[in-house]
Amino acid sequence: MMQLPCPLCGPRDEWEFACGGTTHISRPDLQASDAAWGEYLFFRDNPRGVHLERWRHTFGCGNWFNIARHTVTHEVLAVYGMGEPPPAHLRSERS
């Protein structure tokens, strides 16, 4: 079973967590065009490679956190807090 590293509780089994999808998405200005708003709501990078995403330790401490995870190997490459930027070397890495 996949294990994820909760920053507060350490490694725990996958079923304790809920994935919140792609992270670092910021809401555009309310005056944004329909196209910009549609992009914000629906369009995603969906990489085959490193994905920056948010998870919640729902059935544990309840904490939200960010990880960088490879979508083919499921390897977790970095764990960082909700308000923090991703590690620089992972920002644009794709495979």
Binding site: D34, G38, R44, P47, R48
Partner: protein, 416 residues
């Protein structure tokens, strides 16, 4: 070679040395009128209908792996058209109608078995939901029958209908025309029929990029076997749609997830309906070989891994055994996953992309197999004519800007 009972007899008399390969394995030509990326059901069907409906035979289908090796070979083989909205009902029932004539049309037995597709209700709320669902189907001109508890028990004797049942069954509804079809045969049948009409199916050929003119229009495809010129290109690659879109320079409203399925060891006939229990998260039918084919919900995190998470496997097996306790002695033989292309409204994207000349068929999410004939027909139509077929009109990429979504999440059965 035409397949028939007579051909079998002739084959028997010739010690079965007379059979020829069902399709060629040609070298790619330098240019085609139309190239389709992805030799799964949708791509092969599109190639077949390009040749059959539109007379365009200078067509290639490129496949990175082997023909039918993606989601076409990884689904639970279920066909149905029990959707909620008129746009979807028209689309999926068109697919089911084509399936109904497909074995004859392709001269290839796709083993369509319209055994009935039954949705279970486990609560008062479920009963109300299925009544609304069946009524929506009637409004769309598609047959559906509400079933009471006794009727469900008679149709599915293996269900736990005891007073102690963990998840009591209160009723259900059935689409009699729903059922199963042999998934590989659908790919093989379309491949053979398309090949016979002159389509080149090129396996082990990975697309690595798109060539474009100064106007931005597509002029060719870079592949692991060299450049192939084509000014009209169709993409039908399901869970890998975003990867191809990135190569072509645009984004899609798609997230890729692993959807897993599994089969038990084969046993004698015990279940002659397709049974789905949205409340518990189990989706079960018995294959002609006797295996119980079991599906469930998505692994709910983005993945391109083509293998299922053990956490979800556990919950799907637990759900299945809760409603079919007698299956607890069966051993699982195999478990696998396909990468599905989920969009926000659980409806497909069928039509042009931001790149002129490049068309896409994606977004079927967890339910692409049942739609193969329609998806192929509509992709062929837009590739051949440059215009959307009226059935495809509501399913454009543009709806994610206009907001005119067709939200069929509730009709995918198991909440994803």
């Amino acid at each position: 070679m035409r397949y028939s009972a007579l051909a079998l007899v002739r084959g028997a008399l010739a010690a079965h040395r007379n059979w020829t390969p069902a399709w060629r394995s040609p070298e790619p030509k330098r240019a085609y009128d139309i190239v389709i990326v992805g030799a799964g059901g949708h791509g092969l069907a599109a190639a077949y209908y390009l040749a059959r409906n539109h007379g365009i035979r200078n067509v290639a289908v490129l496949e990175r792996g082997w023909l039918g090796g993606g989601n076409t070979g990884r689904n639970t083989t279920v066909v149905r058209s029990n959707y909620l909205y008129p746009e979807s009902a028209r689309l999926y029932d068109f697919a089911l109608k084509l399936y109904e004539g497909l074995s004859r049309e392709l001269n290839f037995n796709i083993m369509l078995s319209q055994r009935g597709h039954i949705m279970l209700a486990h609560s008062r709320h479920d009963l109300e939901s299925i009544a609304r669902w069946a009524n929506a189907m009637h409004m769309n001109g598609i047959q559906a029958e509400l079933l009471n508890r006794e009727q469900v028990g008679e149709l599915i004797p293996a269900l736990d209908m005891s007073p102690q049942a963990r998840y009591p069954v209160l009723g259900g509804f059935m689409q009699r025309r729903g059922g199963t079809a042999r998934h590989d045969a659908v790919a093989w049948g379309y491949a053979r029929a398309a090949d016979a009409l002159g389509v080149d199916i090129i396996q082990n050929c990975e697309v690595t990029g798109f060539a474009k003119a100064a106007s931005g229009a597509v002029t060719g495809i870079e592949t692991s076997l060299g450049r192939i010129q084509a000014t009209r290109v169709g993409i039908a690659v399901a869970g890998h749609s975003s990867v191809l879109a990135r190569l072509a320079g645009f984004q899609l409203p798609v997230t890729s997830y692993a959807l897993q399925a599994m089969v038990t060891e084969p046993v004698k006939p015990a279940l002659d309906k397709v049974v789905i229990s949205p409340g518990t998260g189990a989706y079960v039918s018995q294959s002609d070989k006797g295996e119980m084919v079991i599906g469930g919900g998505l692994d709910l995190f983005p993945s391109y891994a083509q293998r299922g998470s053990f956490a979800v496997l556990q919950s799907v097996v637990a759900a299945t055994l809760a409603i079919f306790p007698s299956f607890s002695r069966l051993r699982l033989m195999r478990q696998w996953a396909g990468i599905v292309d989920v969009v926000h409204d659980s409806s497909p994207i069928l039509g042009p992309t931001p790149v002129p000349g490049l068309y896409i068929n994606c977004g079927w999410g967890t339910g692409g197999f049942k739609a193969i004939p329609a998806g192929g027909w509509l992709l062929a139509h837009v590739l051949a004519t440059g215009r959307n077929h009226e059935l495809a009109e509501p399913f454009q990429l543009e709806r994610f800007v206009s907001g005119r979504l067709i939200d069929e999440a509730a009709a995918s059965g198991i909440a994803h």
